[in-house]
């Protein structure tokens, strides 16, 4: 999996960084019904590599719809079966509002920043 995917027509990009056995994916742009396959593909690639501990840093994420959150729900279930998880970090108020509207904060752990989210895997 490349470290960075170029922005597409929908202006969505993923940048990956490894921190020990945790992968931090920095999401940028618009995660919608057009771009969600990019995230799904990236997460499935990590799953195949048995790297099931993932933090999604959303500081530069400008938009998310239910299509994007649906991927998180689906993949977090798969990763938990591998004793991993997907955790969210650095949500802007706009993104947090969508997460809250759908009640996802009850099923996906949310942290103020990436460092806290990465540390949470060892606590």
């Amino acid at each position: 999996m490349p470290g960075r995917q170029p922005p597409t027509m929908s202006d969505f990009a993923i940048e990956r960084a490894e921190q020990g056995d945790v992968d931090v994916l920095r999401l940028a742009g618009q995660l919608d019904a057009h771009s969600f396959p990019q995230l799904q593909e990236a997460l499935e690639g990590l799953g195949v590599s048995n790297r099931a501990r993932v933090v999604l840093d959303c500081e530069s994420l400008e938009y998310i719809s239910s299509a994007g959150l649906g991927v998180l729900k689906k993949m977090s279930r798969e990763f938990r079966e591998k004793e991993g998880d997907i955790r969210l970090a650095s949500l802007t108020p706009k993104i947090k509002n969508v997460v809250d509207l759908l009640g996802f904060s009850q099923v996906i752990r949310v942290f103020p920043g990436s460092e806290e989210a990465v540390r949470s895997f060892t606590e």
């Binding site: 027509m9 618009q30 057009h34 649906g70 509207l101 759908l102 009640g103 099923v107």
Partner: protein, 147 residues
Amino acid sequence: MSQERLLTISNQSKNLSEVRQVVAEMLEPSTFDRKQTNEIILAVDEGLANVVEHAYQGGLGEIKLIFGLDDDSFRVHVRDNGILFEPSELRDAVDIHAHIKKGLKGGLGLFLMKRIMDDVYYTHDGPDYVNELVMVKKVPAVGGETS
């Protein structure tokens, strides 16, 4: 204040961002605050994404959008000539949180539309479309708020 905008797009998901931009531009001078505007954009995006994904069952088709904004409401009409979508399928997903906890798929977009907008319904009685999704949001009074 009253304005209307018409837009015709193909049923391709790449067009969603353009429609979100149109809604943002229309609501910019309105009395909806930023949070309300972002939620309305989300609701429209969810409704349109459903039409894009399901109306033409994998084939190409046209979708007509009509946006209307006046002192009372913001209205969105999404018209397609795809397969008939029965209004009964617009169910209330009242227990969406249990739905999510169980890992069930689908229904999230409809839930958001109904949660955010004041009225969401389908019509099928137009001369030039099979389905029309209508979403309505009341405009907040100046200095006041709607639900």
